[in-house]
């Protein structure tokens, strides 16, 4: 059979598979969950097959790179079916952020800047949800804004999810009184600088076009001096670095940050210098914060997949090194033979 024919069969199979499951979902089919025995079986099979690949590599038989992709896909996808969770210890920086929120008195104003877009949502959206939920639980007033155009939309998604929760819904929180979304403002770090002078100048209206002066909870909010705590969710520029440089170092704002894992190592320098008083780094930080907030979000759910995929990556790094050293020894041996 030609390669083209195999490809067509593969695409047709995926389409049929998808159609079957989609129809099942639409007709009210329930999600799957592996029993524990199957879970252990799958984990054992994955481990054994990795061992088998290692043995093949030692024997000098190298696997195709696509096999690595399939393993990573399995490592990420299969744990989502498993009824297992991961034990986690709380990092000091996550605890610090949690404590900083707990220190705020009811009615305190918390500014949250959503400086990310949908591609970073798997890491930052769980942080956003658990942070907003914690603020509402503690009866804090939440002011939302964004330096990225899609940030306020991500905020609305998080708000919608949190407000649907029974305990939060029971509080009957009102838009404009308990929380507000000021929307996006272009200008990057200069927006933060301008907010040091006047919030109203930078955000004359909220996300829905309502004038600043018509929003009751903002009646006494002129600039950073009227904000009790600031939290920034960021996946790049403009983001946490700019917030530290302006809001923290220039205006003395107390601030915590939640960052994508790529950005997190940069932020530890600011944390150690006390420019930040809390940090959530990547999915790990999100999951730890969910544990502290006693919130069953996606951070914790995703962490099992995250750990499985890390194990697979580490296994293939080891296998790759074995292949490298084996090939080096082989070529060295060949060289010795030629010399003899």
């Amino acid at each position: 059979m030609s390669t083209r024919a195999k490809e067509i069969i593969a695409i047709a199979s995926i389409t049929v598979f998808a159609l079957i499951f989609y129809i099942r979902k639409v007709t009210g089919g329930l999600p799957f969950e592996f029993p524990m025995a199957v879970t252990y079986g799958v984990i054992g099979l994955l481990a054994l097959s990795l061992l088998w690949i290692l043995i093949l590599t030692i024997q000098g038989k190298l696997i195709e790179r696509r096999v690595v992709f399939v393993y990573v896909a399995f490592a990420v996808g299969l744990p989502l079916f498993m009824p297992i969770s991961q034990k986690m210890t709380i990092s000091p920086e996550v605890q610090q952020l949690y404590d900083a929120v707990l220190e705020q008195k009811p009615g305190s104003r918390v500014l949250i800047s959503f400086d990310y877009d949908p591609p970073s949502a798997p890491e930052l959206q769980p942080m956003a949800e658990s942070f907003i939920r914690l603020c509402f639980e503690r009866d804090l007033q939440v002011i939302i804004m964004g330096l990225w155009p899609q940030g306020p939309q991500q905020a609305n998604l998080a708000l919608q999810k949190v407000l649907e929760e029974e305990a939060i819904a029971a509080k009957n929180l009102q838009y404009g009184v308990d929380y507000v979304n000021l929307g996006f403002q272009s200008g990057n770090e200069f927006v933060i600088q301008g907010m040091g002078d006047s919030f109203k100048k930078k955000f004359p209206t909220d996300y829905q076009g309502r004038p600043y002066d018509d929003i009751p909870m903002l009646s006494n909010v002129k600039n950073f001096y009227n904000i009790d705590y600031c939290f920034n969710l960021s996946s790049g520029f403009p983001g946490s670095v700019e917030w530290v440089q302006v809001a923290v170092d220039r205006y003395g704002q107390d601030m915590g940050a939640g960052n994508t894992a790529v950005q997190a190592p940069t932020m530890y320098a600011y944390l150690n210098a006390n420019q930040l008083n809390g940090l959530l780094g990547g999915m790990n930080g999100a999951a730890e914060f969910e544990i502290l907030c006693d919130y069953e979000g996606k951070g914790r759910k995703y962490m099992v997949s995250q750990s499985f995929s890390h194990v697979v990556v580490i296994a293939f790094v080891l296998i790759g090194n074995v292949a490298f050293f084996m090939s080096g020894r082989k070529s060295a041996l060949n060289g010795e033979k030629e010399q003899a």
Binding site: I14, A18, F21, Y22, R24, K25, G29, P31, F32, E33, R66, F69, V72, A73, V76, G77, L80, F81, P119, A121, P122, E123, P149, F184, Q185, S186, E189, F190, Q193, V244, Q245, V246, V248, D249, R250, T260, A261, V262, A264, P265, A269, Y270, N272, A273, N274, Q275, G281, G282, M283, N284, K298, Y302, S305, Q306, S309, H310, V313
Partner: protein
């Protein structure tokens, strides 16, 4: 999301992932759609958020009216914005090769103004406060409190001191890295390696998170196979 949006999102996600198998038409279509939509989104966003909202509405503002149609606050045009508008127009002159050199004036303004505005911020946040952060008492919880630090804090402080010092030595190129100086620089390399390793580990975690997000979309939102 409705049925069509879900299937379209799944089609594009699988299209991008199909590159792992090999470069193909499905991938190219998905990539072209992504690039086109991104460019279009940014053009529209920049036009409405910058040109219209800031320049146009600043220069030609509207009076604030009450419900009866009476003027509450008369509009006050901000003509200073014409300077920014003119500099913006000069940037577009790059499209005319003969007078394209005039766009350098705008660039010069941007570089000069940004440097001036941010010099102090960077100096303060990324230099002075960071230096302050590395000046820590080795065996005390704070300056002047005696030897009261826990052993974890003491080790952490010593690592900060050694790491900062050896790292700086490594980046000192006016002296050849030989003898004791070279060995110190070599320790600095180890610290740098550990830093890069930590960054790499975090990057792997971040990339995996993106993949988990997409797989969750496929299995949960699209096919409803997981909770």
């Amino acid at each position: 999301m409705d049925h069509f949006s879900l299937w379209l999102a799944a089609f594009l996600t699988l299209g991008i992932v199909s590159f792992l198998y090999k470069d193909n038409a499905w991938y190219k279509i998905s990539e072209a759609i992504f690039v086109g939509i991104s460019a279009g989104y940014w053009v529209v966003s920049l036009f409405w958020d910058n040109f219209y909202a800031k320049f146009w509405k600043g220069v030609f503002p509207e009076d604030q009216l009450n419900e009866a149609g009476e003027v509450i606050q008369a509009a006050q045009p901000d003509y200073w914005l014409f300077i920014g508008g003119a500099l913006g127009l000069l940037m577009l002159l790059r499209l005319v090769p003969k007078i394209g050199w005039m766009s350098r004036w705008s660039l010069a303004f941007i570089v000069g103004a940004t440097s001036g505005l941010w010099l102090m911020n960077y100096l303060s946040s990324n230099v002075l406060v960071q230096i302050q952060g590395t000046i820590v008492p080795l065996f005390s919880s704070a300056f002047g409190t005696g030897f009261d630090a826990t052993w974890e804090t003491a080790v952490q402080n010593i690592v900060i001191l050694v790491g900062t010092f050896t790292g700086l030595v490594y980046f000192y190129f006016s002296k050849e890295h030989k003898g004791a100086f070279g060995r110190t620089a070599r320790v600095g390399i180890f610290f740098l390696m550990i830093t890069f390793g930590a960054s790499f580990g975090y990057t792997v975690m971040s990339r995996m998170s993106l993949l988990i997000g997409r797989i969750d979309f496929l299995l949960h939102d699209w096919l409803g196979m997981i909770e």
